[in-house]
Amino acid sequence: MTTSQANNPLGPGYDGVAGSEMRFRDIFRDTLRAEMNRDDDVFLMGEDISGGFDKDTKEPLDAWGGPFAATKGLVQEFGVERIRDAPISEAGFVGAAVGSALTGMRPVVDLMYFDFVTVAFDQLLSNAAKSRYMFGGQTKVPLTLFARSGAGTGHAAQHSESFYSMLAHIPGLKVVVPSDPYSVKGLLAAAIRDDDPVFLVNDKKLINLTGFVPDEDYVIELGKGRYMRRGTDVTLVGMSYTSVVCQKAAEQLAEIGIDAEVIDMMSLSPFDEDILIESVAKTNNVVIVDEDTPRASMSSEFAAIIADKAFDHLDAPVKRVTSPHSPVPYNSALEQAFMPQPADVVGTVKNLLGRE
């Protein structure tokens, strides 16, 4: 990708590519369907992923169609064996998914809300992530998990987490965070085809957003970030929904004559060190924006890498805009204050560049 594609989120070949404007939720489901058609070993597990069964016929009703209707319709196409509704037993079915992956299948698990990952954390940490290493490379765990993160919907402290940093901390596990319909298609397909366990964290605030999606089959390489906007004055680093926040901030900054570059990390483990260094080498200023809490987080990790590998390019300290070190509050005004807002990013950039 070169600078000539200044404001082009998809890089070369975007112009003239066949595709359409789609909702995040629709392309998410279409991608699951495509991957299930592509490989018979792919199957899906989760609570209410079809949802409801007729008492007399025992047929699935697809009443729920998955959390946020993410998998609606798939049970009719693939049947109850491959769209496998699970009892509320996260530790059990995530562990069973690991066991199934170790023995030749490619399970995909919908964990509903991201917060529920903690119920299954032992299976993820001690089995999914470590099996290949501790068994000396004899085996692999081609498992994909996904769940919905993020504050802003009045779900309060136990249904609004964004602690993907906890997952990125685990050697053996990969973590991706789509930020729009284009990236969710490429990342979900890449995750399912990847031979390692991959967790896709999906911010709830993205689910109804629309964006351009190419028709063709493509994957986004795990560990790659992208430029969402080119600029010369400051680098804004986003991930998941904060990439949207960064774009909004960049638009507001443009109005006051500040030319911001926006990087969307897309992958958190592995992650794209090169794009961070390349951009900071050009803009000499950087603000990292993260809805996750700040202690031992992706924002602190990116800051450390920039300090280590791009120190000579920096005109000012690395800045972070994050949520507070607190659980998510219920009240909507408190919740908005919890989340990084475009105005917070704009304020931080103005301070950083000494503008008023």
Binding site: E47, D48, G51, G52, F53, K55, L61, A63, W64, D85, A86, P87, I88, S89, E90, A91, G92, D115, F116, V119, T153, G154, H155, A156, A157, Q158, H159, P294, S299, K319, R320, V321, T322, S323, P324, H325, S326, P327, P329, Y330, N331, S332, A333, L334, A337, F338, P340, D344, G347, T348
Partner: protein, 332 residues
């Protein structure tokens, strides 16, 4: 019937208060006055009422995402509950918890809980405290949870713990037939969830959860056992939620109208009214005056919640810890 007149009045008041709180809260939520997600428990009035009728503020209960009925049965005030649902500063948790986290530690209410199964061991822990302090006779732990939660490993660990340590715990399973849209016949491998108690060495009892007297009797025995130091009991109450899983859920996608009608005929409040009328234990006049006062209470609760102030933004940083030397505020 071996229930005092005062207790009967308390039972009727409590069940009617739950019913009307849920209906009022749902109406207000659909009007946009709530700040988030809310789960209603109307239809399921008998289980918390029949159990909490035997408890005092010194006993503890653990609750679920569907916690309003548990809160009301444990004596929480409906104005502060409504204010919490509205996210107001005067709410039970200062607007920070919402419907799924209403709690009142002064009343022995360990909190509604958004993680299915997560509150079960908390009630076991409360019972452990009682045992350690030698106050089992006046402080038992009751854990409310659903049929869906019965599939969580933590229930099974908690049952075994309570049994091997002989703790004063009541495992109160509200089997309303569904977890979200998933019927319990699909997700639960046993006909009666209570049958699992046997494997953990405790009595397992199945009762009609639409009959508050049946619940009251079963709970009375179990709680007496717990207070006497004889250990835990599992009570499964077959019940039904009248509304959707949460405020915006449409039950017609997964429940048949005949089934909904069937349970409405068993309505716990109507059943109570019929029973006390037949046995001449309470007059219709008395019942009407209770209903009227609850209607007033609901009007007041909504008004109180609507007119209450929003929490101050600075409270965002309060109560993350008791003590913490670093700033909590985000990096901005």
């Amino acid at each position: 019937m071996d229930i005092s007149k005062e207790k009967l009045e308390w039972i009727y008041t409590t069940m009617y208060r739950i019913r009307r709180f849920e209906e009022t809260m749902l109406e207000q939520t659909l009007k946009g006055n709530s700040m988030g997600v809310a789960h209603t428990s109307d239809g399921q009035e008998a289980p918390p009422t029949g159990i909490c009728a035997h408890l005092t503020d010194k006993d503890w209960i653990g609750s679920t995402h569907r916690g309003h009925g548990h809160c009301i049965s444990k004596g929480l005030e409906t104005d502060k509950m409504m204010a919490e649902v509205f996210g107001k500063a005067t709410g039970q948790c200062g607007g920070k918890g919402g419907s799924m986290h209403i709690s009142d530690f002064s009343k022995g209410m360990l909190g509604a809980n958004g993680i299915v199964g997560a509150s079960i061991p908390l009630a076991v822990g409360a019972a452990l405290t009682a045992k350690l302090k030698g106050i089992e006779h006046e402080s038992v732990g009751v854990s409310f949870f659903g049929d869906g939660a019965s599939s969580q490993g933590v229930l099974h660990e908690s049952m075994n713990l309570a049994s091997v340590w002989k703790l004063p715990v009541i495992f109160a399973c509200e089997n309303n037939g569904y977890a979200e849209a998933t019927p319990s016949w699909y997700a639960v491998s046993a006909e009666d969830i209570a049958s699992r108690a046997e494997g953990y060495g405790m009595p397992g009892i199945v009762v009609d959860g639409m009959d508050v007297f049946a619940v009251y009797d079963a709970a009375g025995e179990a709680i007496a056992r717990a207070r006497a130091g004889e250990g835990p009991t599992f009570i499964e109450m077959k019940t039904y939620r009248y509304h959707g899983h949460f405020h915006a859920d449409d039950t017609s996608k997964y429940r048949k109208p005949e089934e909904e009608e069937f349970y409405k005929k068993l309505d716990a409040i109507k059943h109570f009214e019929r029973t006390v009328s037949k046995q001449k234990l309470m007059t219709e006049k008395k019942m009407k005056s209770i209903r009227d006062s609850i209607e007033q209470e609901m009007l007041h609760a909504v008004e109180f919640a609507l007119n209450s102030p929003m929490p101050d933004i600075s409270t965002l940083y309060d109560d993350v810890y008791v003590n913490y030397s670093n700033p909590i505020a985000g990096l901005r």
